[in-house]
Symmetry: D2
Subunit: 377 residues, 4 copies
Amino acid sequence: MNHKIRLGILGGGGDSLIGVVHRIAAHMFDYYQIVGGCFNPNPDENKKFAAHIGIPAARVYSSFDVLIEEELKLSKEERMQVVSILTPNFLHFPMAKKLLENGFNIICEKPLTTSHAEALELQAIQDQKQVVFAVTYTYTGYPMVRQMKQMIADGAIGAVQKVDLQYYQGWINPVIHHAEQRKSVWRLDPEKGGISCCIGDIGTHAFDMLEYATNMRVKTILADLNYRYPDNEMDVDGTILVRFSDYCKGVLRVSQIATAEENNFTVQIYGEKGSLKWAQENPNYLNFLQEGKPQQQLKPGHDYLSRFSLEGTKLPPGHPEGLFDAMGNIYSGVAKAILGQDFINGAYPDLEEGVRGMLFIEKVIESHKNGNVWVNL
Amino acid sequence: MNHKIRLGILGGGGDSLIGVVHRIAAHMFDYYQIVGGCFNPNPDENKKFAAHIGIPAARVYSSFDVLIEEELKLSKEERMQVVSILTPNFLHFPMAKKLLENGFNIICEKPLTTSHAEALELQAIQDQKQVVFAVTYTYTGYPMVRQMKQMIADGAIGAVQKVDLQYYQGWINPVIHHAEQRKSVWRLDPEKGGISCCIGDIGTHAFDMLEYATNMRVKTILADLNYRYPDNEMDVDGTILVRFSDYCKGVLRVSQIATAEENNFTVQIYGEKGSLKWAQENPNYLNFLQEGKPQQQLKPGHDYLSRFSLEGTKLPPGHPEGLFDAMGNIYSGVAKAILGQDFINGAYPDLEEGVRGMLFIEKVIESHKNGNVWVNL
Amino acid sequence: MNHKIRLGILGGGGDSLIGVVHRIAAHMFDYYQIVGGCFNPNPDENKKFAAHIGIPAARVYSSFDVLIEEELKLSKEERMQVVSILTPNFLHFPMAKKLLENGFNIICEKPLTTSHAEALELQAIQDQKQVVFAVTYTYTGYPMVRQMKQMIADGAIGAVQKVDLQYYQGWINPVIHHAEQRKSVWRLDPEKGGISCCIGDIGTHAFDMLEYATNMRVKTILADLNYRYPDNEMDVDGTILVRFSDYCKGVLRVSQIATAEENNFTVQIYGEKGSLKWAQENPNYLNFLQEGKPQQQLKPGHDYLSRFSLEGTKLPPGHPEGLFDAMGNIYSGVAKAILGQDFINGAYPDLEEGVRGMLFIEKVIESHKNGNVWVNL
Amino acid sequence: MNHKIRLGILGGGGDSLIGVVHRIAAHMFDYYQIVGGCFNPNPDENKKFAAHIGIPAARVYSSFDVLIEEELKLSKEERMQVVSILTPNFLHFPMAKKLLENGFNIICEKPLTTSHAEALELQAIQDQKQVVFAVTYTYTGYPMVRQMKQMIADGAIGAVQKVDLQYYQGWINPVIHHAEQRKSVWRLDPEKGGISCCIGDIGTHAFDMLEYATNMRVKTILADLNYRYPDNEMDVDGTILVRFSDYCKGVLRVSQIATAEENNFTVQIYGEKGSLKWAQENPNYLNFLQEGKPQQQLKPGHDYLSRFSLEGTKLPPGHPEGLFDAMGNIYSGVAKAILGQDFINGAYPDLEEGVRGMLFIEKVIESHKNGNVWVNL
């Protein structure tokens, strides 16, 4: 008999990259079996894709409503234990709400919802249900990010006094300079993308990482965004001053017009005793700077690392792991939570992180629209 | 109905790392389903592990002989189409031989066998069977290695005139200096490890990469090995001069006593027009040097890459992939070969590469034992 | 007969590092001979140091007033042609003013003066005199910085749309957390350091580099500074939002409490067609990113570089040059200007750059003190 | 009165790069004044150049014979104390010999002579004279090379067990493939270049560095060279196996046809406890690897460095120094020796290093010509 956790998936069919990432992650630690889902709104595509990935037809559902209805008819030993939501953003909220209400554990792509109000509504429901709810800020799954979080918590760099995160991409640059093209990109269309493009898409990653790594909460922000053309209603670039307190400050820098940058996300945290630096494009290196000592470079899989970091590495040192492994670690954290196993706080980004992300987006836009002023979070 | 390729696995149970790598690779492109295998010689462990990874008990076999016997009873539509051999090295030959004789496609870990003679015997059988036989030199699966191979084939660097490959690890250093410890490591025991430790384990990777990347065959070699202590019968370090011709020369440098190195495998190929440089620990970068031009850094997923390289990348640029993805690409190549799909030469390392590897090991030892003299390959 | 330019030096005696830098720079291209100066306010130290560096006693002066007085008595063929001012900041203005009024060419360390008003006064005088006036923003002398400036001027990256400069040091961190120590550092004392520590010391370098590299003028800024402790009146860290226009924005980030950072000054300029990235600690690399092409790494001394860059490199590619060479290039630019030789605009940072720097400091403090608001430059 | 060391220079006039390097180095620490020399065999060029660099006509000599003759007429307080030999290689021997015989201290460019026999003759003379004799293996002057030497001497990495040095350039590649061009390059002409091109030019640097850094002597070598074309009598590439003992081995790899490489000289020294890695193109970083610990990156100017390393750095950490500074440190070492000041062994490469270099060249050629056999050093 198969003891794996029964996973359902909403979305992620066809050529969806995020679908690939979640499926590989689900397989990585042998915790999950994908038992069903609704992968595509088109019925034929849905069935075809399900067959392609080896899902029996009986549990390929035509919609998420049908999925919930049918799964609830199954015994608890058969029913999906957790559902991953990989659909377009505006569907996250109705799906998550109904799944929550019916007691399913949830893994939801970011951004959690389309507004902070929706996010708070989900949180209110979850407060009454005993379910696991993960929001897949994937980068928190990297072993060296977890090491960074642990070291800061352990006081390795002393009290944090300055933070600096950068998330630079260039993919909007070839689009933004052509009036027709910039109208045709869904992320630049407020109808589809909500109130923000760049901040919503990648700014939230940077913000989540900041609070995740430091184990602290940002108090107030001041944002300056760039919309590049008068007819472009969605931000494509921004700099956000942040303060944890009057004497602990920093900056988040995000852009999608940083021409020819790929996915250049970097973290620099400066404490009173030392500093930590990490870069997503070379995720297997964590640089540790200390006063008057040689800079140290920490790498995955070594005994000198924390248990939290080591659990996320499958291979010996020097064998590179990547983004799939980061997501695999988040799935692993969710599995342990579902199974009631001992696990470390931060092993998956939880609903509160999703809620904070939505708050952040709204407050950044507010700060900018009001003339680049300080706004409390 | 499930159209995935039916995969069986020999070995790889328990905490086996190589088992993890192959299972993740098998899942990556949705080509395979693992339908059965014999994962562990201990019957209880075997069953327990099979259940852990979700294999139905009916196809958990007590030995590879039983596996073959029982699978042959199944219809062609049910039977395993390919079997992965992940057992200790000395079992590769008998398993591969019997599987070959019975018409199974094979994915075999390296080194192929324990001697060149055995390897030739496998090749003789395969010459008469129409099966796919892959030897998992994993590093050939990296997208930027494939790009390197393609660029050299396309003449991007002109005729190759010098090659330099390094494969430095340090893991034997803490063992080798203690007489008792060095006797207790199986790789340092000729009974278990065969005629070579360092050359057999990682030298073959370097040699295979050299011939894979350049699309050329080494003609003659001269080896100098280090055994470090008089009572240590197995090489732990070596430098091997290689010649493709009188005017195209190079060197392979391998070590397992390069203290504190992790898995530092680098490739430098110099042609008459340009050069290519790649490093396994940062596999997503390929450096292209040309006379009088700025050095270029190629990265996965870009349109400027060859189709061969692009097929091996699932994520957009800037999202790091790693060793699992390299193995996934080899599994993908095997799948395409089994399915008779169009695929590019080099999409998986074939039996001939396995045979060359065994020849290389024996000739290196011969060169060294005879006083560091030239030996033809 | 010696045709070298006759150089006098004010300050830079004893163990002064800046003295070493200027003397080496003066010798680098065989343009200058140091003929005299006043190196130290202490008469004995002054004489001793002058002897140490081989200056004849006749032209070792007890003060800068005496220097001017005595040099004016010499014939034009004997008189110092240019004087370098390396004294503490508050002396720059009176020295530069009197030298200007008496027609000497000047090389002055940064910051130019202690206030924008003083700087404007110098500029008013220079407008009436035909002298060369250089302000030694040393980093503008690096060959790859000059290449960056030239490429942007030539349109290699298209219209600039985003800028991001970082100047992070950590040297104040071990001082700032001890109430007594932070009172004893001159840079943290407004009496000696003026209105700013971090912005005045290194923020001006970043600001100058921004305008130097882009060939553009910043229009408006918004600054957030960190003073770290209530009793510390001088900024030790800051983030400054900058705008060239409504659609061309960016950020300067400077800190002296970025713990254990050395002199981590980086420049990232993003244009509509491509981007350029440079880092002071590895000054011999300029990264050029373009849409859809491999990243290029430009290095000094190659034919593919501009004449302006090539003039600043003495050695063949691969032979590292450093900070002395950057200063040497500025001295070379000044020499060519004095000799009336053909030279490229930007070959030395001129008085206007010094004036802009003083304006920047005052406006940053103004923005911060007024509650982090936009201020025009 | 001027107390600087009186330096004469032979060669280095006109556009000579090596002339620039030595003059800047001489000025760096304020130890020397250049008082005269013979810079060019052409009398007019000689005078013109001397005037250009500010040398009084009285001590501009028409030949080195005249220089010695005239200088000996001067009082000891006027006479040159040390002479730098920067002429073509074949002149090193006669010049050094006569200078030695007349009691001058000498700084001589490498290679020391054109044969080992000549080198031994110089050594025999020096054994009877009390003079300082430096051979400018420039790279030994880098602060991080000195740190490496010191750390190995201090046992930081334990007993050395493996060494690997690479010196790859590409400048001969564009020449070698054209029959006419390869005949026109002096280094490829045995009449002018002696018995070796690549080994003599850069192989000696690698060999010297190996013995310098490890404080050990190579016992025996086996060389394989590449001459690339049958009509090319001079080596352009080579790999040299080296042994310090039966259990301490390594390899030197040198090439001038490593296409598009600039001056890629790297050092990797592996000991029983740790390892050290350094690269000439980024000379301000020394990587220190230890079993089970994070890799450390040492940089110049820090208190954690040895006194020997610190003496070679003028600027604070993070301000890059380069090749001129390396040569400056050698000149500084020579100055201290001449002045009888306390100095550290290894502060300049001495005559014995020059002699070893000549032996190395001859033995490499011998090993190769005899069929790649072991030859004792």
